[in-house]
Point group: C2
Chain length 282, copies 2
């Protein structure tokens, strides 16, 4: 595995790959890799000649009071995991290289898609995501880029951006990977206390419950949402940020349940904010 820090070195490596007519699969990450990331890397490995993974905790997608400094990092473990998955290039840029003095350009998907769900409590988050992903796409020139369904809104926003800005690449969204007890894998799970960790799978159970209700015929958004809220409000230490039932493609709110839906939630366990979601089609 080639470990690259500099943008110029990466560009050289990418050009040499492209000249040979080989395809590039790209997995952008913030590191502290878990099975969710590894599932993206494996999919990229299957579908492309060359796999590039970036490890970069992107400051522009964190709000002023969020966990940028506390975000978990383990470069050695990440590197070992990537080697085991036969990643070709691990890109570890520095903050100064990607956001030099005088940096001032942002890419923004405007409108409701970035204002609902996580966008409501994290108003500059998606602007940071689309900006860094644009930069990484320009540096890596991938044929396919892999994102997790765990961050459903992020995946939708990036698909919109790729379409709108005419990026010549395919966005591949991979299923959520869960722990044995159903908790969605996340680098932030490491923040949880043992008690919170024990309660966290209740988010997934509430979503599965919802799926069952809808499959049994429930069509009221209000009834479904109230049921999730009731289940979560029973968890000690948990505060609901949002529970939402939206159109899976546009993220717009629905009046009646129909078509492809996304049931998504964000819940704070103490200071740790967890998200989870499920796609349902009727």
């Amino acid at each position: 595995m080639q470990i690259i820090q500099s943008k110029n070195e990466l560009r050289k490596a990418v050009k040499s790959v492209k000249r040979k007519g080989k395809t590039i699969g790209f997995v952008p990450t913030m590191g502290f890799l878990h099975q969710g990331h590894l599932s993206l890397i494996r999919r990229a490995r299957e579908e492309n000649d060359i796999v590039v993974v970036s490890i970069f905790v992107n400051p522009t997608q964190f709000g002023p009071n969020e966990d940028l400094d506390a975000y978990p990092r383990d470069a050695q473990r990440d590197s070992d995991l990537m080697v085991a998955e036969t990643v070709d290039i691990a890109f570890y840029p520095t903050v100064d290289a990607l956001y030099p003095k005088g940096y001032t350009t942002y890419v923004e998907v405007q409108g409701p898609m970035t204002q609902v769900l996580c966008g409501r409590s994290r108003p500059t988050h998606f602007r940071g995501v689309t900006t860094i992903v644009t930069k990484l796409f320009n540096l890596v020139s991938p044929d396919r880029a892999y994102f997790g369904q765990k961050d459903a809104q992020q995946a939708t926003v990036i698909q919109q951006m790729v379409r709108d800005l005419d990026f010549d690449l395919q966005v591949v969204v991979c299923p959520i990977v869960r722990e044995a007890d159903g908790m969605a894998m996340s680098s932030r799970n490491t923040y949880l206390t043992p008690g919170q960790r024990a309660d966290a799978p209740m988010l997934n159970r509430a979503l599965l419950d919802t799926k069952e209700m809808i499959e049994k015929g429930e069509r009221s958004v209000a009834v479904v949402s109230r049921n999730i809220e009731k289940q979560i409000s029973g968890i000690e230490d948990a505060t609901i940020d949002y529970v939402a039932v939206v159109n899976a493609h546009t993220l717009e709110e629905m009046e009646m349940l129909s078509g492809e839906m996304l049931v998504a939630l964000a819940v704070k366990f103490g200071r740790t904010r967890l998200i989870d979601n499920i796609r349902i089609e009727v």
Copy 2:
């Protein structure tokens, strides 16, 4: 010359060029080509294997009360001129192809650079420019892109965007091309009445005068600006939008004249807004 309307066809053509290891020089235009555009095309022709010119009157860079609908168009003449310059690919996308229903993503260079000069009277103009240029860069994958010094602020903003978003291409800024009487070439000159056309070269004369003053030792921004304002206010039918003396790289205002400066102005002749500028170094 290959005339291409569809994005997919363009992508195919670009890929075939790239596979052969050839370089692409790109000249984005709004059509109604004049000698200024042709100078960019010639420079691109000299420096690259393949020359791509886009002809697209970009709606997102026009304000609600600007001249989008009136903007001059002459596809046949443009085509003849491009053929004469041995352009390889002329790209004529439609508005619907570049801004389909539901389009919502914008690229923005934030901060003073886009708020001063033309940005003051055209608050969404540069957002439209950086958005369309990003899209065209993604479609054309140029090695070099050519812009005119006539739109000095645009060139500076695009250089900032290319640097910030890590586009792997070189921005080449070419000198202003002028009519025999000194008037800067512009597609909008066609709007001028004969009387306005006769007076318009006074903009260039005021700039040349300024250069002489500065070269003779004048260092006061106020004195220089007042001199230009005085000359222009003597023109019948002319209203000053701005006269500015700024740092040529950052477009920031200067207290004392020094280093590389840009003296820029925008003047309305009736409803026709003309811009011109001169670079001066002391």
